[in-house]
């Protein structure tokens, strides 16, 4: 149906987005960081990326090898950080380590000082109070935060847009009941509900996503509903009804594209909200299970260990940079969809 080319208005929006230099660079920086952290396993890991042993190649990151494969005695998975194992391998070959030889849950037992250890050549950003490398935890934590934010944003947008579309398009009683239900629902104290729920289940990634989704889908409903209420009275919607087009097709083809503008403008801000929500739950200890890498948990450690300022500062800087980048991207997106800015210069006199 629709050609592959970008419609002129979208091309103009893209130009407008790029014209906001701060937002444009933020998008690049954020995308780079996110793509890098997607490969966290090859950047920070307690297993070598590649082992050449006795004329054969091994890839410990993707496959498990027992210690016996390298001439050891234990039939369990080789612990490459064990000096004995390292010696055995280096006797008949070599290993390639990732730039950070720690995973998020690797405990460094060779610390010269009691944990938390300050930044050093070995642990670039120091270790936390359980001797785990902060840099590695930061990389994994960033990834989990962004993935969580993206998923929560996507799911709550889909539900929110659908609910707003139905309310706005049909109006009347549907709208009235929907609005009242949402008002009551948003009156629930979300944080307490989550705390109570997390005493029934051990919240993991998916549980948290579901619980937060229960409360975050309402954010977009108002915007989409308002847009639908406006557009459903446009002449081209009436014309479509006069042609006999069904309601579903009218919504998808004629009304939804208008509402998408408002939605896309909101999405980066929904995402910052989602990331902040996860972080604060982790900080309070109701979030991800213990041991999982999370920025909120790092913040909590910083609070508990004021004598180790690198913990708090790292978590703060990471969160500040991530959220600021998202806000800048959001601002550029808002500019791009602002008709006053997009249409400037496109006006014919």
């Amino acid at each position: 149906m629709r050609g592959p080319r970008l419609s002129p208005i979208n091309r103009r929006r893209w130009q407008q987005f790029r014209r906001n230099r701060r937002g444009w660079y933020s998008l690049w920086l954020f995308t780079t960081l996110f793509v890098l952290t997607l490969f966290a396993e090859v950047i920070a890991n307690d297993q070598p990326l590649f082992v050449w042993y006795d004329g054969a190649a091994y890839f410990p990151v993707v496959a498990d090898y027992p210690e016996t494969a390298f001439g050891g005695f234990l039939p369990t998975t080789a612990d490459y950080r064990d000096p004995a194992v390292q010696e055995m391998i280096e006797a008949k070959g070599w290993m390639l380590w990732p730039p950070i030889p720690y995973s998020y849950d690797t405990i460094n037992y060779d610390l010269p000082v009691p944990a938390p250890a300050p930044p050093s050549a070995d642990n670039w950003l120091g270790t936390d109070d359980q001797g785990r490398d902060v840099t590695a935890r930061l990389i994994y934590g960033f990834r989990i935060s962004v993935l969580f934010g993206l998923l929560l944003t996507l799911t709550s947008s889909v539900i929110g847009v659908a609910a707003g579309a139905v309310q706005g398009y049909f109006g009347g009683w549907t709208d009235l009941l929907g609005q009242r239900a949402i008002e009551i629902w948003s009156g629930l104290p979300a944080l307490y509900v989550i705390i109570i729920l997390s005493s029934f289940v051990q919240p993991g990634f998916w549980w948290l996503l579901l619980i937060l989704l229960l409360f975050s889908w309402t954010q977009l409903v108002g915007v989409v509903r308002a847009e639908f209420l406006r557009v459903r009275n446009f002449d081209y919607v009436k014309a479509a009804r006069a042609l006999g087009v069904s309601d579903g097709v009218i919504i998808a083809r004629h009304v939804l594209p208008n509402a998408m503008v408002a939605t896309i403008t909101f999405v980066p801000f929904v995402m910052t909200g989602a990331i902040t929500a996860l972080t604060s739950l982790d900080f309070l200890g109701f979030g991800m299970p213990p041991g999982a890498p999370s920025l909120g948990e790092l913040l909590a450690q910083g609070k508990a260990n004021l004598q180790a300022p690198w913990l708090g500062i790292t978590a703060f800087v990471a969160l500040a940079v991530m959220l600021s980048l998202l806000v800048f991207i959001g601002e550029a997106a808002r500019d791009a969809f602002d008709p006053r800015k997009t249409l400037q210069g496109g006006m014919d006199g």
Binding site: D235, Y236, K238, A239, A242
Partner: protein, 530 residues
């Protein structure tokens, strides 16, 4: 002193960005005279007038050349303080849209008083006296009571009177009126024009009057300047220009009055649509239980029939229920009464069952900007009905049908890939027509299809509609407040007022011998005193 004109525009150019839209305009307005600036939309007439008060979006807009002198003093080079002094002080301005040019949160007294406070420092009782004086001057009925009224409590004509009072507040020497009557009903248009002419004579102001409507200009102008594509093509005394136009564009404009009559209907042509006692009542709810206390009778018991190949014109002022009636007939608006389409009673049909019948009745809206989805290409818009009613077997056939429909409404097939914003108003309206015609309907409702278009485009569209009617035996319901267009289109006319039909007759009979005072008033306002 007498030789210095009040306003002199010399070789004025206006550019937006790099695009020059006004290419060197020379105009003079002398004290006490009315200069009408006439032209179609896009001719640069409003932009020229806005330059006088520096109201363009600078710095996006610029003046590569030319000057504007007001009483001999340069305006384009004037500083902001001088411009502010001119705006609303020595030069008053009236805008087209009385709805949006008044602040909805301010009372009438405050709107007018603001101007007096800024330019004259009037306060309290003195200001109130002057506001009342102005309201009496513009003949707003019951001015004392209106002082505290908000814009939404006034009718369109009353709002325009308030706008005029604001413009007159500081006894301007020059009044710039930008299409001051275009948004109003014909009868109210006539009243406002008379008021302006009267005020001009009494106050001795000069007026720069901008309009696309020659009928309006004929009533008020001393001199006329005709603009086209950013140039003044003809300028002269109103009587001379109207009697002996020199430039061919002026002649085209004058000849653009829709003319001709529709082809007579064949004898024994079958009835396409018959409606009996159609009512649309909107409840006014009140009280604790939100019970209907009373009803707004938008359409109150209208009966009509249209035959194959016939056009039924429906005329009336805005608010008379014309459009609501049309929507009720199309079952796009809940209504009571019987509607029979091609012998099939559709008033009780369920929406789903109605969908297949939609093909038989189509609608074209007034606003060609709003009735086309800006995100779809022309081909997608025109083809929409085909997919709903499964009229095309495959993509090739769909393309062929779209091309045929575009050709039928006089559009080049190359336009199929364009988007609505790349088309002119007339082209858009043709696309809307193609979207309806492609389904080969029996009945078409045309809701003010020509009102948003320029005169020359209007007459082309009227010719096209008549042509389509003859070729396909279409029945038209033609809704309009513009009687000259209705006269050129319709076989019979219904006159509506407050939701009811006050008169119904053959077109010529109605124009020759209008039975009702209301009809007479409509005809007189539209065609001018004979």
């Amino acid at each position: 002193m007498a030789d210095v004109p009040l306003l002199a525009i010399e070789g004025l150019q206006v550019a937006f960005g790099r695009q020059v839209v006004v290419h060197g305009v020379d105009l003079t307005v002398r004290g006490g005279e009315t200069l009408a600036l006439v032209g179609e939309s896009g001719s640069g007439k409003s932009v020229t007038a806005m330059s006088v008060l520096g109201l363009l979006p600078y710095p996006h807009a610029s003046h590569p050349a030319g000057r504007i002198r007001y009483r001999g003093g340069d305006v384009l080079g004037a500083d902001d303080a001088r411009l502010r002094q001119m705006r609303g002080g020595e030069v008053g301005m009236i805008f087209q849209e009385p709805m949006t040019s008044l602040n909805p949160l301010h009372t009438v007294e405050k709107q007018i008083g603001e101007n007096l406070a800024i330019h004259r420092g009037l306060r309290g009782a003195a200001m109130r006296r002057r506001v009342l004086e102005l309201l009496e001057l513009v003949r707003l009925p019951d001015p004392e009571r209106r002082l505290g009224a908000y814009p939404h409590q006034l009718s369109g004509g009353q709002r325009q009177r308030v706008m005029i009072a604001m413009a007159l507040a500081n006894d301007p020497a020059l009044l710039i009126a930008d299409e001051p009557t275009t948004a109003l009903d014909v009868t109210i248009q006539a009243e406002i024009l008379d008021l302006l002419a009267d005020l001009k004579a009494r106050l001795g102001m000069a007026m720069l009057f901008i309009s696309h409507d020659l009928n309006v200009v004929r009533r008020v102008a001393d001199r006329v300047a005709v603009m086209k594509d950013g140039l003044v093509v003809e300028q002269g005394h109103a009587a001379t220009v109207f009697a002996a136009p020199r430039h061919e564009y002026t002649r085209a404009l004058l000849a653009a009055e829709p003319s001709g009559r529709p082809e007579p209907v064949a004898d024994g042509a079958p009835t396409v649509l018959a409606a009996e006692d159609v009512r649309v009542w909107f409840p006014i709810r009140g009280g604790l239980l939100r019970r209907a206390r009373d009803y707004v009778r938008a359409v109150d018991g209208v009966s009509l029939t249209v035959r194959r190949g016939e056009t039924l014109g429906i005329v009336g002022e805005s608010g008379s229920g014309k459009t609501t009636l049309a929507f009720a007939l199309l079952r796009l608006q809940p209504a009571t009464g019987r509607v029979v389409l091609l012998g099939d009673d559709i008033s009780r049909r369920r929406p789903r069952a109605l969908r297949s019948l939609r093909r038989r009745m189509q609608v074209v809206f007034q606003d060609p900007y709003g009735s086309l989805n800006p995100r779809l290409s022309v081909a997608q818009i025109v083809a929409e009905g085909l997919s709903v009613h499964r009229l095309a077997r495959d993509d090739a056939e769909r393309e062929r049908l779209v091309a045929a429909a575009l050709e039928e409404v006089g559009l080049a097939p190359e336009l199929a890939e364009r988007f609505p914003h790349e088309l002119s108003g007339g082209q858009r309206q043709r696309v809307a027509l193609a979207r309806a015609v492609i389904l080969k309907p029996d009945l078409m409702v045309l809701d003010e299809p020509t009102s948003a278009l320029d005169r020359t485009v209007q007459s082309q569209l009227v010719a096209l509609l008549r042509d389509l009617q003859v070729r396909h035996g279409l029945a038209f319901l033609f809704i309009s407040h513009d009687l000259s267009v209705v006269r050129a289109m319709s076989h019979r006319i219904l006159v509506m007022k407050d939701g009811t039909v006050v008169e119904s007759a053959e077109t010529e009979a109605l124009f020759q011998r209008p039975g009702e005072a209301y009809t007479r008033r409509l005809i007189q306002a539209a065609l001018g005193p004979a």
